[in-house]
C-alpha cells in the first residue's frame, strides 16, 4: 500500500562479482554524487520526467557465465505483521506484506527500478500524447502468463477495469486509478463501462486520463494495475487467486495456510526465470509478537530476511545488539509520524498555539529515546527522498522562549483540559508519553495521553473528520507514501477537506498552489516550486506537527544478494541477481 521512494546525495554502487563455484564474492563499493536527469524519448512527444539529485545504493551484478549455485537456494523471507494473507487478488490486497507477495506473482505494464524510476515491465514501450492525457502502451513481444498462455491487451483491459469494478469491491483501485477517464462514474455504479481503458489491437492498450498527471505511471505501477489472465480469473471462481496466473517472476507452488507461501520460478517470466533460486518462502509472522519471533528465527537461521516492511521493522529494543552486524541494514523510508491538531476546535484553531506546541518539543531527545539509527528528526512535511524534499524549507526550531511567548501572546489558559489521543500499538505509547512530558517541562502545560484500542482510534479519527466539533483535540498519527510524489503528501493530506485531512487544516493559498502543481506535467521545476511554497505555508502554520521519520531496519543474511534498500523498503530490480544459501 505504501509505495515509497528514495533519493538524496550519494550514489553507492556495489559491483558484485558473482561467486564462481565456492569462491568468495568480491565486491567493490563506489560512492559518487550525481545529478540524474532522465529523459525519455518517445515517438510523438518528449517528456522530461524528473530532474533531481538522488542517492542510492545499487548492487549491480556483473554478468558471468551461469554456474550451478551451491546450497539449497531457498530464500526465506519473513512477512511480519500478518498471520495469513487476506487474499492474493491484486484488486483487493492492501497490506504492504501482501502487496509484496502479490508483486512476485503478478506484474503490471511498468515497474520501479532501483532508483525508483519507472521502467518497462509488461509493456515494452509507451507513448504519451501532446496534451499528456493519453498513454499508449505496446505490450512486450511474446509476453506470456505463468501458465504459458499469451498475454493480450484484452487481459490488461480486463485487469484494470476489474480493479475499479464496484462488484469486485477492491479498495485500492478507486484510489490509485481514479484519474482514469470515467473511473468515478464506473466505481460509483453510475456507468457500467470504463471508457478510459481500451485495447487498440491485441498488443496495444490505451489509457486516457481525466487530468494531466506527473505521477500517473507511479499509480499504475501499484498492484491494482497488474495484468491478470482473464481466463484464469473467470474460470477460477471466487477463490481464483489460490491458483494465481500472472506475469511475475514466480508462481505459487503451495499456500500453507497460516504458515507460508511457497513460490518457485516462473518458467515463462519474460526476463528469464530466476532459476538460480529453487524456492522463495514467504513466511508469515503475525500478531504483535510476530517481529520478535521473526527475530529469534533469524538468530537460529530459520529465516533469511526480516524487518523488510516499514510498519514492522526489527523491534527497536534489539537494535543496540545488532546495529554493528554486517547483516543489519538501515535505510530512510518515506514515513512521517506526526501530531495532528483539530483546527476547528479551541485551542488549536489558533496558529500561535500550534506553533508553541511545535516549538516545545526537543525532537533530538525523541530520537535518542527511539534508539540511534531507528529514526531521523522530521521538521517538514516531505520526508527526505520525495522529490521536492531537497528544496529548502524554514522550519520551526525547538525554542522554549519563543514557545512560551507565543502562549502568552495567545492568552493561552494553561489549566484547560488537553488530551493527546493515540492508538495503542507498537511504540506509540512511548512516543506520546515522552511528548506529554516535554510539553509539561517546557511549556508548563498538562496534557493527558489517551491510548485507545486501534479500531476505536480509527473510528474516532473518522468522527473527527466528519464532525470536528465533537472530534479529537489532537492525535498521534503516521503517513507513508503510496507513491514517491509530493502530491501524495501535500495535496492528499492538507488540502482543504481532502479525505485524509482529519484535522481540517485549511489555507486558500496552500490550496491554490497544490491545485496548480497537481496538474502541471511538463515543467517539473515549476511544479516542485509550487509544492515547496505550499509546504512552507503548512510548516509555518503547523498543518502537521511532524516529529520523526522512522528508518527501515532490516536484517539480511550475508549470503543473500541482489536486494536494494530504497525509501519504500526492499526492491529487487533483477531477480536473477538474487542468491540464497
Amino acid at each position: 500500500m505504501k509505495i515509497l521512494k528514495l533519493a538524496t546525495a550519494t550514489l553507492a554502487v556495489t559491483l558484485l562479482a558473482a561467486a564462481c563455484g565456492g569462491a568468495t564474492p568480491t565486491s567493490v563499493t563506489v560512492v559518487q554524487t550525481s545529478i540524474v536527469k532522465e529523459t525519455q524519448v518517445v515517438k510523438e512527444t518528449q517528456v522530461v520526467k524528473e530532474t533531481q539529485v538522488v542517492q542510492q545504493t545499487v548492487q549491480v551484478q556483473v554478468p558471468v557465465t551461469p554456474v550451478p549455485v551451491p546450497g539449497t537456494q531457498v530464500l526465506r523471507w519473513a512477512l511480519e505483521g500478518i498471520n495469513e494473507p487476506s487474499t492474493l487478488d491484486p484488486a483487493k490486497a492492501g497490506d504492504s506484506q501482501i502487496v509484496f507477495a502479490t508483486s512476485l506473482l503478478f506484474r503490471g505494464l511498468v515497474q520501479l527500478d532501483a532508483q525508483l524510476r519507472i521502467k518497462p515491465d509488461g509493456a515494452e514501450s509507451w507513448t504519451v500524447s501532446a496534451d499528456t492525457k493519453t498513454y499508449t502502451f505496446k505490450l512486450r513481444k511474446g509476453l506470456k502468463f505463468s501458465d504459458g498462455s499469451d498475454v493480450t491487451s484484452d487481459d490488461v483491459v480486463f485487469a484494470i477495469t476489474r480493479s475499479l469494478d464496484p462488484k469486485v469491491g477492491g479498495g485500492n483501485g478507486a484510489y490509485y486509478l481514479s484519474n482514469i477517464k470515467g473511473a468515478a462514474d464506473f466505481t460509483s455504479g453510475k456507468s457500467d463501462k470504463l471508457p478510459g481503458v481500451t485495447a487498440l489491437d491485441p498488443s496495444t492498450v490505451q489509457i486516457a486520463l481525466e487530468q494531466p498527471s506527473a505521477y500517473f505511471l507511479y499509480q499504475l505501477n501499484f498492484i491494482t494495475g497488474y495484468i491478470l489472465s482473464k481466463k484464469s480469473v473467470t474460470d477460477g471462481g471466487e477463490k481464483w487467486y489460490e491458483k494465481p496466473v500472472g506475469t511475475g517472476p514466480f508462481i505459487l507452488k503451495e499456500w500453507q495456510h497460516n504458515q507460508k507461501l511457497v513460490l518457485t520460478p516462473n518458467p515463462y517470466y519474460w526476463a528469464g526465470p530466476p532459476n538460480q533460486l529453487k524456492e522463495v518462502d514467504l513466511v508469515f509472522y503475525g500478531g504483535d509478537q510476530g517481529s520478535v519471533t521473526a527475530f529469534k528465527d533469524y538468530q537460529t537461521s530459520a529465516v533469511d530476511v526480516i524487518g523488510s516492511f516499514g510498519q514492522t521493522p526489527i523491534p527497536s529494543q534489539f537494535l543496540p545488539q545488532v546495529k554493528d552486524l554486517p547483516d543489519f541494514k538501515s535505510a530512510p523510508q518515506f514515513f512521517v509520524r506526526y501530531i495532528g491538531f483539530n483546527n476547528k476546535l479551541k485551542p488549536f484553531d489558533n496558529t500561535m498555539v500550534r506553533e508553541a506546541f511545535a516549538r516545545g518539543i526537543d525532537k533530538s531527545k525523541l530520537i535518542k529515546l527511539l534508539g540511534d539509527g531507528a529514526a531521523r528528526v522530521q521538521d517538514r512535511i516531505l520526508p527526505g527522498g520525495i522529490p521536492g524534499s531537497e528544496m529548502k524549507i524554514d522550519t520551526l526550531a525547538f525554542d522554549i522562549d519563543i514557545a512560551n511567548k507565543l502562549l502568552t501572546d495567545a492568552k493561552f489558559d494553561k489549566t484547560q483540559k488537553l488530551v493527546l489521543t493515540y492508538g495503542a500499538e507498537g511504540d506509540n505509547a512511548k512516543v506520546v508519553e515522552f511528548i506529554v512530558q516535554q510539553w509539561k517541562t517546557n511549556l508548563g502545560v498538562n496534557v493527558t495521553a489517551e491510548p485507545l484500542e486501534l479500531q476505536t482510534f480509527s473510528q474516532k479519527l473518522t468522527d473527527t473528520y466528519n464532525d470536528p466539533a465533537k472530534g479529537l483535540q489532537m492525535y498521534f498519527s503516521v503517513w507513508g507514501a503510496d507513491y514517491p510524489d509530493p502530491q501524495n503528501w501535500l495535496s492528499q493530506q492538507l488540502r482543504t477537506d481532502v479525505g485524509n485531512n482529519n484535522g481540517h487544516y485549511s489555507n486558500t493559498d496552500f490550496d491554490g498552489l497544490v491545485d496548480k502543481a497537481d496538474v502541471e506535467v511538463k515543467d517539473v521545476t515549476a511544479r516542485l516550486k509550487s509544492y515547496n511554497e505550499a509546504e512552507q505555508i503548512a510548516v509555518t502554520e503547523v498543518g502537521w506537527l511532524p516529529l520523526f521519520s522512522p528508518n527501515t531496519n532490516a536484517m539480511v543474511k550475508p549470503y543473500v544478494t541482489g536486494l536494494v534498500f530504497t525509501g519504500q523498503g526492499i526492491i529487487i530490480p533483477d531477480w536473477s541477481a538474487v542468491r540464497a544459501q
Binding site: P315, Q317, K368, A424, K430, A449, E453, T456
Partner: protein, 279 residues
C-alpha cells in the same frame, strides 16, 4: 485469629502483604521521584545510586514506577476478586444448593460467558463508559472499567467451581442430619455449606490474582487499561520483557514483586483455609 499465624510462613507472608500494601499507599509520598519523567541519556539503566532499581525503556525511574504500578495492580486484583467471590461464589452456591431454575440460569449464563469474546466486551465497555468515567474519576476510572470487564468474564469459573462442590456437599450425611433436625436453608448455607467451601474459594481466588494482574497488562497493551503515566506490575513486566536481553533487571524487579505477592497470597490463603476448616 492467632491460630491463623501459627505457621511462621503464614505470618511472614501476611506481614509481607501488609508491607506491599503500605508501600503502594505511602511509598510514592516518601520516594518522590517522578515516575513519568524519563531521562533519554539513561535508557534501560542498571541499578545505580540515583536509580536504585535502574530505569525503563524510556529512562524513567523503575522504583517510582514499581510503586505506582503496585498500587494499580493491587487495586485491580482486589476489585476483581471481590466481585469474583461475592458474585461468582454466591451464585454458584445458590445454584448448587437449590438446583432448579436458578441452577439452569446460572449455569447457562456461565456457559455463555466462557464462550464470550471478553476482549470485545472490554473494548465495548471502555468505549461506552470510558470518557464518562475518566471525566468523573480521572485516570482511575479506566482502571475501574478494566476491572469490571475482567470480573464480568471471570466469575463463571468460580461459580461453576462452587456449584460443583455444593452439589456434593449438600448430599453429605451431616447436612442431611442438620436438615432433619429442622434447620432452614439459610442456616445450612451459612453455617455448613459456606464454611466447608471457604477453603477452596480462598485458594482459587488467591490463585486467580496472578492471572488477573497479567490479564490487566494484556488489555493495557491494547489501550484498554490504566491511563499513562499510570502503569501496572503486569505492564511493566510485559514492556521490560521485550528488552530482557539488554537489561534483565527490569523484568526481574516487577517480576519478583509479582511472584512474591502471589506466593505470599497463596500461603496466607492456605493459612486461612486451614483456619476456616478446622475452626
Amino acid at each position: 485469629m492467632q491460630r491463623i499465624f501459627r505457621s511462621r510462613v503464614v505470618l511472614i507472608s501476611a506481614l509481607f502483604l501488609a508491607l506491599l500494601i503500605a508501600i503502594a499507599i505511602i511509598g510514592p509520598l516518601v520516594y518522590t521521584v517522578d515516575p513519568a519523567t524519563g531521562d533519554v541519556e539513561q535508557l534501560r539503566a542498571f541499578p545505580t545510586l540515583s536509580h536504585p532499581l535502574g530505569t525503563d525503556d524510556s529512562g524513567r525511574d523503575t522504583l517510582a514506577r514499581l510503586m505506582t504500578g503496585l498500587r494499580v495492580s493491587l487495586a485491580v486484583a482486589v476489585v476483581v476478586e471481590l466481585f469474583n467471590v461475592v458474585v461468582g461464589a454466591g451464585l454458584g452456591v445458590l445454584a448448587g444448593y437449590f438446583g432448579g431454575w436458578i441452577d439452569i440460569l446460572v449455569s447457562r449464563i456461565a456457559d455463555m460467558l466462557f464462550a464470550f469474546p471478553g476482549l470485545l466486551l472490554a473494548i465495548l465497555i471502555s468505549a461506552i463508559f470510558g470518557s464518562a468515567v475518566t471525566g468523573f474519576a480521572g485516570g482511575s476510572g479506566r482502571l475501574f472499567l478494566v476491572s469490571f470487564s475482567l470480573a464480568l468474564v471471570g466469575w463463571p469459573l468460580m461459580a461453576r467451581y462452587t456449584r460443583g462442590q455444593t452439589l456434593s456437599l449438600k448430599e453429605r450425611s451431616f447436612i442431611e442430619s442438620t436438615r432433619a433436625l429442622g434447620a432452614g436453608d439459610g442456616h445450612i448455607l451459612l453455617r455448613h455449606i459456606l464454611p466447608n467451601l471457604a477453603g477452596l474459594i480462598i485458594v482459587s481466588a488467591t490463585l486467580d490474582v496472578a492471572s488477573v494482574i497479567v490479564s490487566e497488562a494484556t488489555l493495557g497493551l491494547l489501550g484498554l487499561s490504566a491511563q499513562p503515566p499510570q502503569t501496572s506490575l503486569g505492564k511493566m513486566i510485559v514492556e521490560a520483557f521485550s528488552y530482557i536481553t539488554l537489561n534483565w533487571t527490569q523484568v526481574l524487579f516487577p517480576g519478583l514483586v509479582l511472584a512474591l505477592l502471589v506466593l505470599a497470597l497463596s500461603f496466607v490463603g492456605d493459612g486461612l483455609q486451614e483456619y476456616v476448616e478446622r475452626g
